[in-house]
Symmetry: C2
Subunit: 557 residues, 2 copies
């Protein structure tokens, strides 16, 4: 044990050196910090006990207790009822995929993928999202159109922040439309679904920020961003919701070597946001931008989209936000992200200073309501986080609660990689962050001081005198056979107070009291524990014939 | 690529030698055979294409298509409605656990556990069942009593047999009762639940085989089995449902070195099975057996259990079967396993010759109905399988559809390993094999030629003339806002036949037809596609005012 401990200590020292190096070089040290922490923990355990056996769940995972599991089921049920209204079907894919299926899909975040150990046979990894498995499913089965939803767990070796619901294992709830359709119609459907879903969930007001990759590309082209810097500059822009423009500009010019003149040109655009038509009209009036092919195409898409969103009555929920870029590699068109008032930190933070570009001074501060504006600044992306980020974010809100966009090439990439000749299958979709929705619902429930039950037992059958085990069994069976959720104590001769306490602990609304004398005359006593009739019966209950008990109880439930 | 291919070929050759050695030594070669197959496949792919990219799911896993996913949801829904009637709450645990949590729980089957790769941090494995995570949950949280159900996927690197629903990733559906209660009351509850659940599922007649570890131990003690051979002899007995007594006896004496006299003594008991009271009375009349402490205690448990099962009205579903032993290490008392007519192979097989021991000649052939008897012989356990087993079983039925038993020490093992001083938390539970239930339901549905829908869209909104995209959108939105599952084509100007075909392909029951002239006068045409009214309207549908369409459609659904 001593030898093992000392080798652990050596490894920790080596890691500390390495982390310092990485930080100096401004590179990501997540994996190293992670390993170091685990080793330190192990070292501590080794010192404390000889066994080192830890009774816990793996880092970044939790058990969901009954109340939490029930609330999650409720969320799924709500979402499913809306999925099916939109004509979606559902599929279920394996929790792990061949490793090569996930390769090259997640950019920098690929390092967060969980691999399965090579135990002979194929190399596999846990799925990182539900989108890539969907694209693989379509390509593998040659399916060219499908509307599907999928609720399932995904896995990311990210730095967990339990307080804001960021875990290594978490549920995602995806809705995607695949197929060759007319421009922006499926996109409008997905956004209409999103608004219906967020309205149905009990999470308060929300805003959907949206942008278009082609417009961003056009702005970069207009500003003169070199082709090979497009992705990294795009990811710098994406940080505008939690960094000031000055810091983002510094990242572009100092860290990423962008010409400051180009950075300032970008700065003229990315501060722009507001109601769809307002922002669109400003951009359409910008002749230089309209001269760029991709920007023009992107703006035409947005115009069509806004028309459709007006028909669906949800355009007022949208904010056209030029700072939204989204991290993932596979998006090709429209991108969006939903935030709520809970996406922001609990305490108000100073608004980062976003530049007010000459050309559109008026738009930035006035175009969005002040409250929504504040929200937008501190929302959070589902992206790789460094240790420092994680510490910082523990004090902010839950971040964005849904995100997605159009990805027209992903299915084709699979077909091509497998050597199949097939047309592209364009897709657009949304992923709802169930854990974040859960955090918000839980918070709201706590504020309302709602009583939360882990199970929903209707009737507790208890005996006063004599135990009456078989009689309680038979009575419980009769109730259960009639669909009534029934419980009794698994003791031959339980004490009365223990039975009453069990019924109270579970907040069971009705108690059925069996007693020898009453049973002999064919009756039981039914007592309402909660609700309007609970007090009115002077706590004695009502004597009911055994054969009428089911009907009587059903009427009371 | 050539170098890689030749090293693969070398590895295959080495494996072939090793497999031969293992087979000669009568040892398990599953892992080796598995690896060899994967390598052969890889070699073939390498030769065919340069990329080697495979568009597939990992071995032993499948995508569940919409129809299959919906049917599974139905199964879960049925089971959940019964779980809650029995007062169970539900929890959700991570799909992987710390590796040491699973260690030492599964006997020989531990080699089937999937490990996650060591990427720095903790060593983890995918869960193998839902029982060990439940026990860990109880121990970790110091919970001493709980009734919980859990539906989730579990993972086993077993030899997959797709035809009989044995996969490497599959759903389990567990119900367990933890806590110190009076003898056999929770056990009776679990069995009553099991019968309710199997009755509610659409799987035909079933039988629950049961036995008691203490009775088996008593028989082994009486026969003179050395203490260190108890588990291996027990696992030989467990094979009586698919091997003849002669073969099992041979395994005991030749492979496992048991004295043939002892084996024959065991043989006098293990052929015994039949209705609970019949078998129990025979065993209670056996003075030698009753002289063994553990046997006597086990038989007292069974007597109490049968009394309770009579109260619950399910005793007639039970078969007290002395050949049932169950493979897992952690069982300590009552054990059971449910089989159906579909557990047996499609074609009848010759009944294996079970010995009719002198002392109870009459019981073996007459005690169970002939049909149930045949079933029992070929049911299958969720245990490690060798390659040969797998080939053989592809032609048999789905095997047992539920299994479980009492495990009184598992929770305490965790508490103890973690250095906690706690009392034992006795548990009893059942695991339902959802995939096998699914196979049976699917088979029965196919036999009945039922039409299966992958989604349940109520209304298809189509346009005749002019495209009317925004009008279709607005109409669809109105229906959806009123809870009606609605679909339309995502084209600006879709052709009529394409729209009709889409509605037909999804078996949508109602079509709403928008046409320019009718819309101008404020009406749409509603046409019933299926059901009794479909033909009566001469295929033209009924003209309805737009504002009355929701009410009209709701009435028709």
């Amino acid at each position: 044990m001593t030898a093992a401990s000392s080798s652990v200590a050596e490894r920790i020292a080596a890691l500390q050196t390495r982390i310092k190096e990485l930080k100096v070089a401004k590179q990501d040290a997540t994996a190293e910090v992670d390993e170091m922490k685990a080793l330190k923990e192990q070292l501590g355990k080794d010192k404390k006990s000889g066994s080192g056996f830890q009774l816990k769940t793996p880092k970044g995972t939790v058990d969901h207790r009954p109340e939490a599991t029930l609330l999650r089921k409720k969320i799924f049920h709500t979402l499913e009822s809306i999925f099916v209204k939109y004509g979606a079907s559902t599929i279920d894919t394996p929790v792990f995929e061949l490793r090569e299926i996930l390769a090259g899909k997640y950019g920098e975040d690929s390092k967060l993928i969980y691999d399965l150990q090579d135990q002979g046979g194929e190399l596999c990894s846990l799925r990182y999202d539900l989108t890539v498995p969907f694209a693989r499913y379509l390509a593998m089965n040659g399916i060219t159109s499908m509307k599907r939803y999928h609720i399932g767990k995904v896995y990311r070796r990210d730095q967990p922040v339990v307080t804001k619901g960021r875990m290594r294992e978490f549920f995602q709830c995806d809705f995607d439309i695949a197929g060759v359709y007319d421009s922006m119609v499926p996109d409008a459907e997905v956004l209409s679904f999103l608004c219906d879903a967020l309205t149905a969930l009990d999470i308060g007001e929300f805003t959907v920020k949206m942008n278009h990759r082609k417009i961003l590309d056009g702005i970069f082209e207009l500003a003169g961003v070199p082709q090979d810097k497009t992705r990294s500059i795009s990811s710098a822009v994406d940080k505008l919701d939690k960094m000031s423009w000055a810091d983002v500009r510094k990242e572009m010019t100092v860290d990423k070597g962008l010409d400051p003149v180009i950075a300032d040109k970008i700065g003229e655009y990315v501060g722009l946001k507001g109601p769809g038509w307002d922002v669109l009209k400003k951009l359409e009036a910008d002749e230089k931008l309209m001269g760029i092919e991709s920007a023009k195409a992107g703006l035409a898409d947005m115009r069509l989209l806004f028309e459709y969103l007006e028909v669906f009555g949800v355009l007022d929920k949208m904010s056209f936000d030029m700072s939204l870029a989204r991290g993932l590699d596979y998006y090709t068109g429209l991108i969006y992200e939903a935030i709520t008032e809970f996406s922001a930190p609990p305490s108000a933070r100073p608004t980062p200073s976003v530049p007010a570009p000459d050309a559109m001074t008026s738009s930035t501060p006035t175009s969005l309501p002040a409250k929504a504006d504040k929200k937008a600044k501190s929302s959070d992306k589902d992206k790789a986080k460094t240790e420092d980020d994680a510490v910082d974010e523990a004090s902010v809100g839950v971040g964005s609660i849904a995100a997605g966009g159009r990805y027209d090439n992903l299915v084709g990439m699979f077909a091509e990689a497998a050597g199949q000749k097939r047309d592209q299958v364009p897709c657009v979709g949304i992923s709802i962050g169930v854990e974040r929705v859960y955090s918000i619902m839980e918070m709201r429930r706590k504020n309302r001081e709602e009583k939360i039950r882990g199970k929903e037992t209707d009737v507790y059958v208890l005996a006063l005198g004599g135990g009456l085990l078989k009689e309680r069994m038979a009575f419980a069976k009769m109730l259960r056979d009639n669909g009534i959720k029934t419980e009794f104590m698994y003791k031959a001769k339980p004490k009365a107070p223990a039975q009453w306490k069990a019924a109270d602990d579970d907040h069971v609304p009705i108690v059925a009291i069996l007693a020898p004398a009453e049973l002999e005359s064919g009756t039981v006593r039914i007592k309402q524990q909660v609700g309007k009739d609970a007090a009115g019966e002077e706590n004695k209950g009502v004597e009911v014939k055994v054969e009428e008990a089911v009907a009587y109880i059903k009427q009371r439930l």
